[in-house]
């Protein structure tokens, strides 16, 4: 089966700064792929390129067989921005119902999306009165309400308590098992272990593209944080990036 996302030689400049330096990677369908890297490494830019809202300098991004940003993809791709982009002066339910209509869904789907992120009891509350973690879950509900084939989530678990984080990750895996493809960014390394595949980005370059087990095996350490440190050092020493061969 073709990959959900195929990125080839993607270069993005922002002003005079090169934010992504020739990145090539793929996201297989029906998996949870983690996009890991420190703040400022280019994770958000890569995600925006996949959604099709990022002006790119060169290279191609193919999403579900179509060029990223194609009009037809707007109903098939869900996007959660890093800063919660929901209307603070609407209730959680009103936000979800509005985004549901945009995706051709009804009130029932909206209410289910709100319940799925654990906000059923706060449905009637104005988003502006929610805590940071609740607000970002309200935003998540709006990204998932259209039941998209590909979901791009930029740091969806920041500020969530550990129990909720575990719930959300369980939900992501349920979605993947049902055939949805998820690309989830995080800068928390303990979340890397929960992903089916990992993309590690640093300073605009891809330094790993593999499964967590293969990353552990290639570096000879069990802890992914340590493994990433080794990859980064190896990379800085000028060696070839670890990970699978790319065509």
């Amino acid at each position: 089966m073709e990959d959900a996302v195929v990125v080839r030689d993607l270069v993005v400049d922002r002003g005079r700064r090169r934010v992504l330096q020739s990145i090539s990677c793929t996201v297989p369908r029906g998996t949870v792929t983690g996009l890991l890297g420190p703040s400022g490494s280019g994770k958000t830019t890569l995600m925006r390129a996949v959604v099709g809202v990022q002006t790119v300098t060169s290279g191609t991004v193919t999403v579900l067989g179509r060029p990223a940003g194609a009009a037809e993809l707007r109903r098939r791709v869900g996007y959660l921005t890093q800063a919660p982009s929901v209307y603070a002066d609407l209730t959680v339910r009103e936000n979800a119902r509005y985004f549901a209509v945009l995706h051709g869904r009804g009130h029932a789907e909206a209410d289910r999306a709100v319940a799925d992120v654990g906000l059923a009891d706060a449905g009637g509350q104005l988003v502006g009165t929610l805590s940071g973690g609740q607000r970002s879950r309200a935003s998540l509900a709006c990204a998932l309400v259209g039941d998209p084939e590909l979901v791009i989530l930029d740091e969806p678990t920041v500020g969530q308590d550990p129990v909720l984080r575990a719930d959300l990750w369980a939900r992501f895996h349920e979605m993947a098992a049902a055939g949805t493809t998820l690309l989830v960014s995080s800068h928390v390394m303990d979340e890397a272990a929960r992903c089916d595949r990992l993309l590690l980005v640093r300073e605009g370059r891809l330094i790993a593209d593999d499964t967590p087990d293969a990353v552990r095996a290639a570096t000879g350490v069990d802890d992914l944080e340590q493994a990433f440190l080794r990859l980064i050092r190896a990379n800085e020493a000028g060696r070839e990036p670890a990970g699978r061969e790319r065509a």
Partner: protein, 251 residues
Amino acid sequence: MNLRILAATTGRILRQLRHDRRTLALLVVLPTVLLTLVYFMYVDQPTPPGQPAVFDRVALIMLGFFPFIIMFLVTSIAMLRERTTGTLERLLTTPLSKLDLLFGYGLAFGLAGAVQATIASAVAYWVFDLDTAGSIGLVVLISAVNAVLAVALGLFCSAFARTEFQAVQFLPVVAVPQLLLCGLFVPRGEMAGWLQAVSDVLPLSYSVEALQEVGRHVDPTGTMWRDLAIVSGAAVGALVLAAATLRRRSG
């Protein structure tokens, strides 16, 4: 465009307004308070022979002007918030079309402007005895179209502001020259040629002329309909320009 999405967007904007009680109260009360001020300014002024009372002349134009400035301000801030909070970028990744969004704003705030114009006109006619040859319905219609024009200009201008500080400063830029040159202070025919030329390209001049036609004539005149068409055309034009400022892709 998609009617379901357009209706949902209009409803969403009105719902946001409904949750903001203070703004609602200001929208309703503000024109009335300002009209009261205008009334007491002119109440003791002598009426020039053979002309309408000064209050009648000024208040009629103000009925068109108040919804214009208020809706311009409300819209440019609302749209700027869509841009700065990331909801705009998010909306543009969904099947919503740019025109769904812009016409949604036009309908929602146009409706709010119409309600505002209705309340202000009712107060002007029944509390302050505003006297016009034509009907109050036409005054409300012209004021409502004026509000839609203000919404369209606000949507367009918000593209050039990065902060709310900047956005509010577009109000004097857009509104004050139109007010000065609309014919309220100096009749347009008596202005210097170049000022008249500037006045001719400012849409508010036509809504003021339309209102003056209602003031002078019992039945709607051809000039009034032509002016109303020009103002509507300017509103559609500003909406199209605003659409051009919405970019799905950015750096």
